[in-house]
């Protein structure tokens, strides 16, 4: 079996001492930021990107990936014990998890989340390994027209599935695409929108955008809300083991969550947040057994299913990135940046040109999940302590690390002025209800889209119909249109709005 050979290669890479260390650092940091409310994986990965310059590419990617899926584990701890979403994707875990903690069952809730996540993570990693090969084959059949259509589908999918106001999100994408075009045009060498500032001819650094908008923007917005009273159930975590009855309820919920999460993770715009929401909705729809606790009052299924879903989705969302080179969400957009820093062009050729990177990353995810279950269950006490750290000590540190990170990308103070500007812009976005994630996706895809559009049009000699006459491309565009139509249907529209109100 080729798959096993590949996995063996991957484990060989992942089990080197250095890579194990970086996987551990990634998982540790991921859990840390997952536990701390108000710090997300996007800002953290952006902060740490410059620090990975010195590392070999495999180690860098292993660490950054660990932050993303580690955050899914850590987020549940805060949701259950403090009733705050440590991570956006743990919002639904709060509903039943916190109620369980109030009834003195914080231990089983944490165990359900941890074990569910572990199982889901393993399955997600296997799916990633199994699907990557065949999808890569398909990707090699893609010409520029197909890539352009695929990006359209990806961007449309991202806003349809994952955002509130559709038209405003599309606006953010277009704005992101435009900002991605700032800098020297590769075909003609003309510096576009650079206002004769030498630093701008290299384009706007996406780290400055990510940190300004996601880091500073969020901090300012957090500080404008009054500090909430936190009730931490520290003393009450006794006995982690769920009862036999709990297990009976948990297992099917974990399976459903894992399956749903894996499927939604692959979709453009999918990922952890969406998966958790969908899983909870489905659990709520299934019938309660006689004597079972109703949802919203501490049902263990309401913890197990969404936590499994967000973790499996965070693994499978690597599939479009690694096979097609198209990031399905903002975190993956940062991973594209990380790969480009290390001179790796994301796309189907990664698997053949850098097999040790590709399979090493996949194998490391399994190891990472094993580390996380140890970090999060037996060592839960440490994380609970951390929850008592007040925000007023955290945010100066975050601002400082952002500033240091931004400076060290180019050893240039110019980037610090830029991040200040994007901080103001980011806060404005939050105030106006404009979502920043589509902007980042557009920004990453902007130059790629232009390049593929140009090539496709050059090959077709200026005939726009090329996008609909090539069957693959036409299919992708049709799927994009279909998505838009479905969302615009009145019955779906009202349901969708309901779902985002709950958020």
């Amino acid at each position: 079996m080729e798959l096993f050979d590949n996995l063996a290669l991957g484990f060989g890479v992942a089990f080197t001492f250095q890579n194990l260390i970086y996987a551990f650092i990634g998982c540790l940091l991921g859990t840390l930021i997952g536990v701390l409310p108000g710090v997300g994986p996007v800002a953290t990965i952006a902060m740490l990107l410059p620090a990975t310059y010195a590392l070999p590419p495999v180690a860098a990617l292993i660490m950054l990936a660990g932050i993303y899926y580690g955050a899914q584990y850590g987020g549940s701890t805060t949701a259950i014990l403090v009733n705050l979403p440590g991570e956006a994707s743990s919002v639904v875990t709060m509903i039943d998890g916190y109620q369980m903690a109030r009834k003195g069952r914080a231990g089983p809730a944490l165990a359900a989340a941890g074990l569910g996540s572990f199982f889901a993570g393993c399955v997600g990693t296997l799916i990633l390994a199994a699907f990557a090969g065949p999808l890569t084959e398909v990707a090699f059949k893609f010409g520029p027209a197909e890539y352009f259509s695929l990006m359209i589908l990806g961007l449309i999918g991202a806003v349809v599935l994952a955002s509130g106001s559709l038209i405003k999100a599309v606006g953010m994408i277009v704005l992101g695409l435009l900002m991605g075009l700032i800098g020297t045009d590769v075909n003609s060498g003309v510096a576009r929108f650079s206002f004769d500032i030498p630093e701008l001819t290299d384009g706007v650094g996406f780290i400055t955008i990510a940190m300004g908008v996601f880091g500073y923007g969020e901090i300012i917005s957090n500080l404008s809300k009054p500090e909430e009273e936190r009730e931490v159930f520290t003393a009450k975590v006794t006995g982690l083991m769920p009862t036999a009855e709990d297990f009976k309820n948990m297992v099917p919920a974990v399976l459903r969550g894992t399956f749903l999460g894996s499927a939604l993770g692959i979709l453009p715009g999918g990922g952890a947040l969406l998966a958790a929401f969908a899983a909870y909705t489905i659990e709520k729809k299934t019938k309660l057994k006689p004597g079972e606790v109703p949802f919203g009052q501490g049902n263990i299924r309401g913890v197990a299913s969404p936590e499994s879903a967000n973790n499996s989705a965070s693994q499978t969302s690597f599939i479009p990135l690694l096979t097609l080179g198209i990031p399905p969400n903002a975190v993956m957009a940062l991973m594209v940046g990380a790969m480009t820093i290390h001179n790796i062009q994301p796309g189907p050729q990664v698997m053949t040109s850098n097999p040790e990177l590709f399979w090493g990353l996949i194998a490391s995810m399994w190891i990472g999940n094993a580390m996380l279950i140890i970090l999060n269950l037996p060592l839960i006490g440490i994380w609970i302590k951390l929850l008592t750290v007040p925000y007023r000590w955290l945010f100066p540190a975050i601002v400082l690390f952002c500033a240091i990170g931004v400076y060290s990308t180019n050893n240039n103070t110019w980037d610090i002025w830029m991040v200040a500007m994007f901080g103001v812009v980011g806060y404005t976005f939050i105030k106006l209800g404009m979502e920043p994630a589509p902007l980042l996706l557009g920004f990453i895809l902007g130059p790629m889209m232009e390049e593929n559009l140009r090539r496709a049009m050059l090959l077709s000699r200026g005939d726009w119909s090329v996008f609909v006459t090539r069957p693959l491309s036409a299919g992708l565009l049709a799927a994009a249109v279909l998505l838009l139509v479905i969302v615009a249907l009145p019955s779906i529209k009202s349901k969708r709005e309901e779902a985002f109100v709950e958020e």
Binding site: R192, F193, I219, S224, R392, P396, L400, K431, M449, L458
Partner: protein, 162 residues
């Protein structure tokens, strides 16, 4: 005319202004034809699209009723001011401003200054606590970034190290 959704109206306005600016800027470059696109083609297309999206969002904001008028609400000037100026101060202290003759003070001074200013953004400010935090952060950063990761920073003021 009444604005039915303040948030949407201003985001629409933002899109239209940004889109028009990009589209106008794009006309300065060669636009070219479909088969041979110049550097101005794609930005012009997107700029117009963004301006149209903005116009649509504004139109909706003026016509579709919302429950509470979608008010933008008050701006958090204090956090905004201190976070952003703390960040700018970091740049000035670290790298200096050669054009104004401000010397580079180095990493440690920058960390201390930034932590002090940024901490003012919060609700409570206790000088002693902030000083302890700043000291921990500067020692930690020196260890992690300079010693461990070997990133290149001017650590001390230039007039000391020369």
């Amino acid at each position: 005319m009444n604005i039915k959704s303040q948030k949407d109206f201003f985001s629409g306005l933002f899109y239209t202004v940004a889109g028009s600016a990009f589209a106008y800027g794009a006309t300065n470059y060669t636009v070219g034809t479909g088969a041979r696109m110049g550097p101005g083609y794609f930005p012009l297309l997107l700029g117009i699209l963004l301006a149209l999206i903005g116009a649509f969002v504004m139109f909706k904001a003026l016509t579709v009723e919302t429950q509470d008028g979608d008010k933008i609400g008050s701006w958090a000037w204090k956090p905004l001011l201190f976070i952003i100026s703390g960040n700018v101060l970091f740049g000035i202290l670290l790298g200096g401003l050669p054009s104004l003759g401000v010397p580079a003070m180095g990493l440690i001074a920058a960390i201390l200054g930034t932590t002090l200013v940024v901490s003012l953004a919060g609700d409570t400010f206790k000088l002693k606590e902030v000083l302890v935090l700043a000291t921990i952060l500067s020692i930690g950063s020196y260890g992690a970034f300079v010693l461990l990761l070997k990133l290149q920073f001017p650590v001390w003021p230039t007039f000391i190290t020369g």
